[in-house]
Symmetry: C2
Subunit: 137 residues, 2 copies
């Protein structure tokens, strides 16, 4: 026996999250890949181009031009890697961090909105469910 309903409900949740994110990013005048980079750098700190490209699911060639634009826009800075001169560390500038915090606040607001009618214990249970599912990917 298998649960079609659960599967479809998860897909619906994903679709709605996706639409919300696109609308929010466009509304703030950013591009989706650039905000994606900001989210990853903001959540994990400086990292190498290679590593960032992997986390974003794009090639390093694509990332190079994306980071070029973001450096132009003042969101990120390239820094020398201490132990490997082939590598380059990318990190958020002050301005990039401001964009990260702002975007994070929006996520936060959505999370509040979605669980507004949940009790505290339900919210805790929901968190544990997400954590357990995240481990199974």
């Amino acid at each position: 026996m298998s649960n079609d309903l659960l599967s479809h409900t998860i897909v619906e949740f994903y679709e709605k999250l996706s639409s919300w994110e696109m609308a929010v990013v466009k509304d703030a005048g950013h591009s989706l890949p650039q905000i994606h980079a900001v989210e990853i750098l903001g959540g994990n700190g400086d990292m190498r181009m290679k590593e960032l490209a992997e986390k974003m699911g794009i090639t390093t060639g694509t990332l190079t031009v994306q980071i070029d634009k973001m450096e132009q826009a003042g969101l990120v800075a390239r820094k020398a890697h201490q132990h490997d001169r082939r590598s380059i560390l990318v990190g958020l500038t002050e301005q990039g961090q401001a964009v990260y915090r702002e975007h994070d606040q929006l996520h936060h607001g959505l999370s509040d909105q979605l669980t507004a009618k949940f009790s505290d214990s339900e919210r805790e249970l929901l968190l544990s469910f997400f954590q357990r599912m995240n481990q199974e990917f």
Copy 2:
């Protein structure tokens, strides 16, 4: 007081779902927008270009070229609209429906995988949580 952890855990879930979907679609040799169209048509039946474009979050101009390609590939067919000759109904072909069922099975498998360690009652609770959140967008 607000819950950073829940917000970040939801974002993590979304990111993982997103990576999974991109990998699965690429692996099957399809493109993301085309599978998106297949999912929507498969789940809702034939619809007008306008309606499909809205559900996909793209303009009708963009959709026109996408549907051109999909028609070429034998996934969808354009049909005359009964009551409005300006409109065109788009629907899945036999082959398009096969792709839909195949992709739906993958969603299904993922849903099973993520909740493999859940008890039946936990799975039911999870479903109700998703349903409640989906209503709050």
